[in-house]
Symmetry: C2
Subunit: 519 residues, 2 copies
C-alpha cells in the first residue's frame, strides 16, 4: 500500500463521505494523493472529515426512515451534446406523507454530497422529521461518482483517470438534480408543486448554488454549514484552523498550549534514536511509524474532526463521542498528573476521539486512504480551497498556503490542472452580500460557530429572505441531524425558526399560485 499515513496533500473536505465499495489501494488506477514522501513539518492539508473515520450505518438507522431506492439515467455532460454513456443516478424517495399535486404538496430535495446517499439520508433526520407536517415528499438524490451513482458502469471505471473523472463537477451535479426532479414532477403531473432544497456541508453549498442557478426549479434552500466563501481570496486562509484552535482554547488555554507545543515535542522525539519506535508505542499504533509527519497528520485530523462534531450531546456521526467532545479531550490533556509527558497527554486526549468506546487495542493511521478519491478530484479541479495555519492564533503547525505546490500535486496525482477561479466565476463569492441581496431570495445559511467551516459561510442576514442563522454552540450542520431528547433549547429554537421560514416560502408560493389561478 502506497499510503498508510504518509498523507501530505490530502486536500480532503470537511464533508461527509462514505465509500461503500472498498477499493484496494494498490488496484486503484488513480494515483494516491498520499504517496509523496513526507518531510517534517508536513505541508498543511485541507482537513479531512468523515472519510477515514466514518461510522457505518447501523441496521437500526437504516430502518429508521422508509424509502424506496430508484435509479434515473442521466447524461454525463449536460452542457454539451458529446455522445457519452448515460449513468444511473440513485435516489431515495418517500411519498408516504406527500399530499400530492392537487394540493401542491411540497417536494423536499436533499442535495446529495460526496458520499453514499443512504448515509446522508440517515444523518439528515431533520428532513424526514418535518416532512409529514408539510405533507411533503422526501427525495435524496445521490451525487454523481459517489455511492452507487457511477458513470461507466463501475467505480473502477469511473475513477480510472482524468478523462473518466472529467464530469465529476458541481455544475453537473446541480443539473442532475434539476433534470431528475423536473422529470419526476412531470411524470406525477406535479409540475406546480414547490421544491425546497436541503443540504449540509458540500451539500449545503450545492443547495445554495442550486437556488441561485435554478430559481425556477426550487423555491428555497436550507444551506447548512455551507462554506461557499472558502475560495480564492474571499476569506483569510487561516480561518479554518483558527476556529478549530479557538474551540480548544475556549475549553482550556493550557490544553490549547499543550497541543501547540506538542508538535515540536513530537518532532524532537521522532528525531531521537528509536524515537519513532517510542512514538509508535506511546500512541498505540498497530504498525511501526515511518515518520513523525504521519502521526502529526493523524492528530491534526482528530482535532479538526472534533471541532466539526463538537456537538452538545453524545453522537456517533463519524465516531462514537461524548457530548462536547473537545471539553473531554482537554480534560484528559489537562488532567493527567504532573510529570506526564506531552506525547502521553496528547495520546490520552485524542483517544477520546479515536477510541471513546475503548474497543481499539491499537490504531491504524489511515484505514480508508482511498475513500476520498472523489473529493480529492473535486479539490484538484474546482473546489480549490486555500488553507493556511497562522503563527499566533492557530495551535497547529504554521503553514502558508502555496498554490504552486498544490497545482503540482494535482498534476502528479490526477494529471489535471485545477481551475481555482472557476467556482467564483460560476457561482460568485466576491462581494457576496451585494450579489445575494440584489439577486437572491429564500436561502437560509445556518452555521454553528464551533464548526471550523462556519468562517467560510454567510453569517449575516443579507436581506429579508436571505437569512443567516448562527448558533454559538452549534457545530457542523447539527440542525440537519435527527432530533434527540438531549437537544439544547437553542437547537430546538433554531429548527423551529427554520420550519417557520420554510413554511413562509411555501405559503408565499401557494399565495402566488392562487393569485395566478384567480386571474
Amino acid at each position: 500500500m502506497a499510503a498508510s499515513g504518509s498523507s501530505t496533500l490530502v486536500f480532503s473536505s470537511s464533508f461527509a463521505i462514505v465509500t461503500i465499495v472498498t477499493v484496494i489501494a494498490i488496484s486503484s488506477p488513480v494515483p494516491s494523493l498520499a504517496s509523496k514522501p513526507s518531510n517534517l513539518p508536513s505541508p498543511k492539508r485541507l482537513p479531512g472529515f468523515l472519510s477515514k473515520h466514518w461510522h457505518p450505518i447501523t441496521p437500526q438507522q437504516r430502518l429508521q426512515y422508509q424509502y424506496e431506492t430508484r435509479y434515473f439515467y442521466q447524461r454525463l455532460d449536460h452542457f454539451s451534446f458529446a455522445d457519452l454513456p448515460r449513468f444511473p443516478q440513485r435516489y431515495l424517495i418517500n411519498s408516504q406523507h406527500w399530499v400530492g399535486p392537487s394540493r401542491l404538496g411540497p417536494i423536499f430535495l436533499y442535495c446529495g454530497n460526496e458520499g453514499d446517499i443512504e448515509w446522508f439520508a440517515v444523518n439528515s433526520g431533520f428532513v424526514w422529521e418535518i416532512a409529514p407536517r408539510f405533507g411533503a415528499m422526501v427525495l435524496f438524490p445521490e451525487h454523481r461518482y459517489y455511492g452507487e451513482s457511477m458513470p461507466y458502469g463501475s467505480r473502477d471505471e469511473a475513477y480510472k483517470n482524468a478523462t473518466t473523472l472529467a464530469y465529476l463537477t458541481a455544475e453537473q451535479a446541480l443539473a442532475d438534480f434539476t433534470v431528475l426532479v423536473t422529470d419526476l414532477k412531470r411524470n406525477l403531473s406535479a409540475e406546480a408543486c414547490p421544491v425546497v432544497l436541503f443540504g449540509g456541508s458540500y451539500g449545503g453549498m450545492l443547495a445554495a448554488w442550486m437556488r441561485l442557478k435554478y430559481p425556477h426549479v426550487a423555491i428555497g434552500a436550507l444551506a447548512s454549514s455551507a462554506p461557499i466563501l472558502q475560495f480564492e481570496d474571499i476569506v483569510p486562509p487561516e480561518t479554518f484552523y483558527n476556529i478549530v484552535s479557538n474551540d480548544f482554547k475556549r475549553e482550556s488555554t493550557s490544553c490549547f498550549n499543550t497541543i501547540k507545543e506538542s508538535w515540536a515535542a513530537l518532532i524532537s522525539e521522532g528525531l531521537r534514536e528509536n524515537g519513532l519506535a517510542q512514538l509508535t508505542k506511546t500512541f498505540h499504533m498497530c504498525r511501526e511509524l515511518t515518520s513523525t509527519g504521519d502521526l502529526i497528520n493523524w492528530l491534526e485530523d482528530a482535532y479538526s474532526y472534533l471541532a466539526m462534531v463538537d456537538y452538545p450531546y453524545p453522537s456517533a456521526f463519524m465516531m462514537p463521542l461524548p457530548g462536547y467532545p473537545i471539553r473531554e479531550v482537554c480534560r484528559k490533556i489537562d488532567g493527567l498528573p504532573s510529570g506526564t509527558s506531552i506525547p502521553e497527554r496528547i495520546f490520552e486526549g485524542v483517544s477520546i476521539y479515536y477510541n471513546y468506546t475503548g474497543e481499539a487495542d491499537c490504531f491504524e493511521l489511515d484505514d480508508d486512504p482511498h475513500g476520498l478519491d472523489g473529493w480529492n478530484w473535486q479539490a484538484c479541479t474546482e473546489m480549490v480551497m486555500p488553507i493556511s495555519s497562522s503563527r499566533e492564533a492557530s495551535m497547529f503547525q504554521t503553514y502558508d498556503y502555496n498554490y504552486s505546490d498544490f497545482q503540482k500535486e494535482c498534476w502528479k496525482n490526477f494529471r489535471v490542472v485545477p481551475r481555482p477561479k472557476w467556482i467564483t466565476m460560476q457561482f460568485g463569492g466576491h462581494d457576496i452580500k451585494t450579489a445575494l441581496e440584489k439577486f437572491g431570495s429564500n436561502i437560509i445559511f445556518s452555521n454553528g460557530l464551533l464548526d471550523p467551516w462556519s468562517g467560510d459561510s454567510v453569517l449575516q442576514n443579507i436581506s429579508e429572505t436571505i437569512v443567516a442563522l448562527v448558533t454559538d454552540e452549534g457545530a457542523h450542520h447539527i440542525d440537519l441531524r435527527p432530533s434527540t431528547p438531549e437537544d439544547p433549547d437553542w437547537l430546538v429554537e433554531q429548527r423551529a425558526t427554520e420550519i417557520k421560514l420554510i413554511q413562509g416560502w411555501i405559503n408565499d408560493y401557494w399565495e402566488a399560485k392562487k393569485t395566478t389561478f384567480d386571474m
Copy 2:
C-alpha cells in the same frame, strides 16, 4: 449543389447571422438540411432570418466604429475537465471612452450571437453611441463556432460532425463571456467595474439568461427582441406566423388575402404542364424551378424577413429596403391593374424585398444554403422552437408542428437527438413571471410588436427592475440599431428610457459600492 431552394426543414433562426467564410455546399461535411425531396405543401420551417440575404458590411460601416480585435483562448467545455483543445474567441474592444477602474467605469458587453461579431458590432450602433456618455468600455465577444471563433482550428474541422459540434451550446457561450470579462477585468485591476449586458435576438436571450445565471458578473441586461419563451408549450406555436400575417393585414386586408390565396394558385400553376417553367419565368428565377415548394419557401422567407425588418425608415440590415417595407409590398400587390394574375402580383410584391435597388436581373432561391449550419445545429439540440401556421389567422399555408418529424430530420442531418425540454430546465420559461419577479432584477425586455418574435418575449413589466419596453411600431431589435435622423419620436423616447434605466443600474451599483467603502 444539394440544395438550392429545396429547403424543407431549415429551422433557421430569426437571428442575425453572417458567415464570412463562404463554404461550398458540396464540401461541407455537415449534411445539408435542405436535401430532403420537397413535396407540396412543404412542411413549415422555422423562418430563416438574415442568413441567406445578409447585407455585407460596407467599408464605410467598418470605419464607423473603432475597435481593436483580440483573441482569448477558451476551454471548449467549461463544465467538465475533459482534455479538449482550447479555441481562440475573437472579441472587439474599445476603451477610448472608458473612465477606468478608479472611477468604476462601466463595461458594456454585447453578447455575440450566431454570426460574425463584426456584423453585430456595426449593426448595434446604440451600444457604441451611448458608451461615451457613460464613460464605458465597449466589448463585443464573438459567439463560439461563429465568425473567427472556431474550435479545432477551422470552420471545416469545427463543423465536421456531431462530436466536434457538441460544444456549441448557449451555456458554454455564457461561460465564455463570463471567463473573458472576468479575466479582462482582473488584468485591468477593474474587478469592481460594473458590467452591463446588451444583446439582440438570440444575443438578447443570452443577455437575459446571463443576467439570470451570472448575476455577480453583470449588473443588468438590455435584452432586445429576445424570444426566451419560444420553447416547449409556453407560447402557442402559431404565434410567429400570426404576427407576420398581422403585419400584412394591418397594411391591407386585400394584400393579406391575396397572399393567403396565392399558395393554392401557385401550387395549381406548378401542377400544370410547363407550370414550373411558367413560374420560373414569372418570378425571374435564374434557374429552372424544380418544385413549387422551393418557390413557396422563398416567398415565405421574404414575408417573415419583411416582418422582422419592418422598420419605419429605409434600412439595409439584411437587404436595402424602404421604410415600412411591408406597406410598399402591399401597395404593389394591391395596386397592380385588375386582371393581373396572383403570381404576378406576388412577384411584384416580393421584388420590394429581393430587389429594391433594381439591380437583380434574376433570382437565386438560396445563395447561402450553409450560412446557418451553426444555428441549425443549435436548433436541433437545445433551441427547439415549435412553430405552426394556423388555418385562420395566418396567411401562410397551414402547418402543424410535429416534433417527431423534427427529431427525425435532426438525426438525419446531424446524428443528434434534440433536448426540447432542456432550455426551460436550464433557464426557466414556464411561469416566467413568478420566477423573474422572485429572483430577477435589472433586465429590460424591449420588443417591437411588428416583430414576429415579439410574441415569444416578455411584454409586461414583471417588477420594478424587470421592465418590458414595448413599441407598437417597432420591429426586430430596432432599438439597438444606430440612430438615424429619421428615427421616429417613439424610438428616440424608447432609447432615452433605456439609457435612463441603465444609468439607474449603474448609479445603484456605485451607491452600493460607496456604502461598502464607507463601512
